[in-house]
């Protein structure tokens, strides 16, 4: 038993030594400013505070269909766009430079959503396809699963 305790202690020391070595490699001490505990994104209905939404409270391009669908989404949106909404060359640019009208997939939109339990999220996305994702995202309702 004593032997076991000794070996355990040695292992613990070994582990701690590894940790300390790691710490020493990263723990020089430049000046430190107060660490702001910033909260983000959403108003938590339970606390009334603004906080980051959980990842599963956000719309995600791959959330339910995989990367291939996400890729298809932007391509398909471009393919189905009306001629006015497509990227198109701009004629008459000085110095013979090349010019293009930007298509809606690059326009930045700020979208806000409020779930049934009062959670408010505000997100900046690009393109009307992303707006549709954001506006139709299933936001977890009721008590938030932590």
């Amino acid at each position: 038993m004593a032997s076991l305790r000794n070996r355990t202690a040695k292992l613990a020391i070994l582990h701690l030594a590894t940790c300390v070595a790691a710490l020493l490699s990263v723990l020089a001490a430049p000046s430190v400013r107060a660490q702001a505990q910033a909260q983000r994104i959403a108003i938590d209905p339970e606390t009334g505070r603004v906080r980051a939404p959980e990842a599963d409270e956000l719309p995600a391009a791959r959330a339910n269909a995989g990367a291939a669908r996400a890729a298809a989404t932007t391509s398909a949106a471009r393919a189905s766009a009306s001629p006015e909404e497509r990227a198109k060359p701009v004629a008459g640019v000085r110095f013979g430079a090349r010019g293009f009208r930007v298509d809606p997939t690059r326009m930045s939109f700020t979208v806000v959503r409020r779930s049934a339990d009062g959670l408010i999220t505000t997100q900046c996305v690009a393109g009307e396809t992303a707006v549709e994702h954001a506006m139709h995202a299933a936001v977890l309702g009721g008590a938030h699963d932590h």
Binding site: T8, L11, A12, T18, C19, A22, L23, L27, P30, V32, Q35, A36, Q37, A38, Q39, R40, I41, I43, D44, T47, G48, V50, R51, A52, E54, A55, D56, L58, P59, A60, R62, S75, A79, E84, A87, V93, R94, F95, A97, R98, G99, V102, R106, M107, S108, F109, V111, V112, R113, T121, C124, V125, A126, G127, A130, V131, H133, M135, D145, H146
Partner: protein, 495 residues
């Protein structure tokens, strides 16, 4: 997409020349930002509804206050940027997609892009305003400003009306004092969107990896100027040098893609907190740091924190999970006493879990996520009675740590966890002080890549989400937006 009858375009009015250049008599020391609108009489910028002055905004009609907010934002940007060529913004307030629970607040972006003009990098797309600045002249003129505008910006004029996000409204003050429960700060939203329009965006598709203008013009696909500064730490390549598939991978590798520009990097330390909470795990085959999301309750993991202790699991569910939603029993109390407790996310709030571990004598808590998304986000909650630090690791990392604990023979020491603040890393940057860009997995369509990472503290203007602490500023000591624009080619004049 916004469309407008040609007849209305003829009613376009210039909101104003808003920069200080003319007053200084030295136009090269600033930029003139001109805002044009074609809102119809009585709506949008011309809405005559009487309102009371608010937060430093002295306008007495809704339209006047909206103009004042835009003028403030344009003036702020105009004083910071340096261009001999006026920046033209086509702005309007109009109904945008909206329901009682969700809606578009506004949209903006570069309206035209140019390549292969004097003083620009060859074979590269630039946003119009920056291309004009570099060329020293407007590259494309058209009598119709809706064709030749550099930036297009639209904001939702219906916000707060019945059926459009009922109960929410734009805050039109200029002091950043919006009530986060009921108001959206228009000024911060406008500053953010103007930032995109001035160049804080890539035109490359982060989903397909294709350069602009994508599938329709394969022979004209070129990198954006932005792409030369996006550095992937793992691939050791910039986006401009990658294949489309490499860019796709890069866009969903969290805390790996950084901004490799001199201005942002050398100023990051003036803005970001010095110190990043870390967890290092050693033993049972592990010897590594884990990405984490620290708790917003309990003591912060700061320069005073150094907890090195064995990791121990709570197991209180039939399937082997440990939720810690109720006071720990004797077995779990014995397991975590004087150690770092590893608890699974789910069923109850984080503060409850941490408090139960605290009552059992744990020194700290690691929450293993139950969602596969990465990177792990901060733990929200409020409980002033929590006195031990806690953080979250991803589901995959949590599984790895839990396996290492499970592999520990009874009576032996398991893996050791160390919680501390890495004072060599700025919060929101890598070890070389390159600021992280936002690249979560799964990809957030439109948010990924063209924003700073949400890890940044204090919060930055160009993060993908509105936050209560976002600054009404674009440069140090509060923000790094201007520095990024300087990196891609803007000159600056600091007042």
């Amino acid at each position: 997409m916004i469309t407008e009858p040609i007849a209305n375009l003829r009613r376009a009015v210039r909101l104003g020349v808003l920069a200080a250049a003319f007053a200084l008599g030295a136009i090269a020391q600033a930029a003139t930002v001109e805002i044009f609108t074609n809102d119809a009489p009585g709506v949008g910028f011309n809405d005559a509804t009487a309102v009371a002055p608010v937060g430093g905004n002295a306008g007495t009609t809704l339209g006047e206050q909206r103009r004042a907010v835009f003028a403030f934002a344009a003036n702020l940007w105009g004083r910071k940027l340096n261009s001999d060529v006026p920046i033209h913004i086509w702005a309007r307030f109009s109904p945008l997609a909206c329901t009682s629970t969700q809606g578009v607040l506004g949209s903006a972006g570069a309206w035209n892009v140019f390549s292969d003009f004097p003083n620009g990098r060859a074979g590269t797309w630039y946003p119009a305003a920056l291309a004009n600045k570099l060329a020293g002249v407007r590259l494309f003129e058209d009598p119709d400003f809706t064709q030749s505008a550099d930036i297009r910006a639209s904001f939702n004029g219906d916000l707060g009306n019945p059926g459009c996000l009922d109960g929410l409204s734009f805050y039109l003050g200029l002091d950043g004092k919006a009530d986060p429960n009921t108001q959206i700060d228009l000024l911060i939203t406008v500053l953010h969107e103007f930032g995109h329009g001035l160049g804080f965006q890539t035109f490359t598709d982060e989903v397909t990896g294709l350069f602009f203008p994508y599938e329709d013009f394969p022979e004209l696909q070129l990198p954006s100027i932005w792409d030369y500064f996006l550095l992937d730490n793992q691939q050791r390549k910039t986006w401009a040098a990658m294949t489309p598939q490499e860019r796709v991978t890069s866009a969903i590798t969290p805390r790996n893609l950084v901004w490799n520009g001199k201005q942002v990097t050398k100023n990051a330390h003036k803005v970001l907190n010095h110190g990043t909470p870390e967890i290092f795990v050693s033993g049972k085959g592990l010897n590594k740091f884990y990405a984490n999301g620290p708790a917003e309750f309990g003591p912060p993991i700061d320069k005073h924190t150094l907890i090195a202790s064995e990791l121990a699991r709570v197991v209180d569910q039939p399937g082997g999970l440990g939720l810690a939603c109720t006071p720990l029993d004797a077995t779990n109390t014995f397991a975590v006493h004087n150690k770092i407790a590893v608890i699974d996310r789910g069923t109850c709030g984080y503060t409850i879990k941490v408090k139960n571990a605290q009552l059992a004598g744990a020194k700290a808590v690691v929450i293993a996520d139950n969602d596969p998304s990465t990177p792990p986000q901060p733990l929200p909650g409020i409980d002033a009675t929590v006195t031990i630090p806690s953080l979250r690791v991803s589901q995959a990392d949590g599984l790895e740590i839990k396996r290492a604990i499970a592999a520990t023979t009874a009576g032996r020491i398991g893996p050791i966890g160390v919680l501390f603040e890495n004072q060599l890393k700025l919060q929101g940057a890598d070890h070389l002080q390159h600021v992280f860009m936002y690249t979560p997995d799964p990809l957030q369509l439109g948010s990924s890549v063209s924003h700073y990472d949400t890890l940044a503290k204090p919060n930055l203007l160009m993060e993908p989400f509105a936050t209560p602490n976002q600054p009404i500023a674009v440069s140090p000591p509060k923000d790094l937006t201007l520095q990024l624009l300087l990196d891609i080619g803007w000159g600056a004049h600091e007042h």
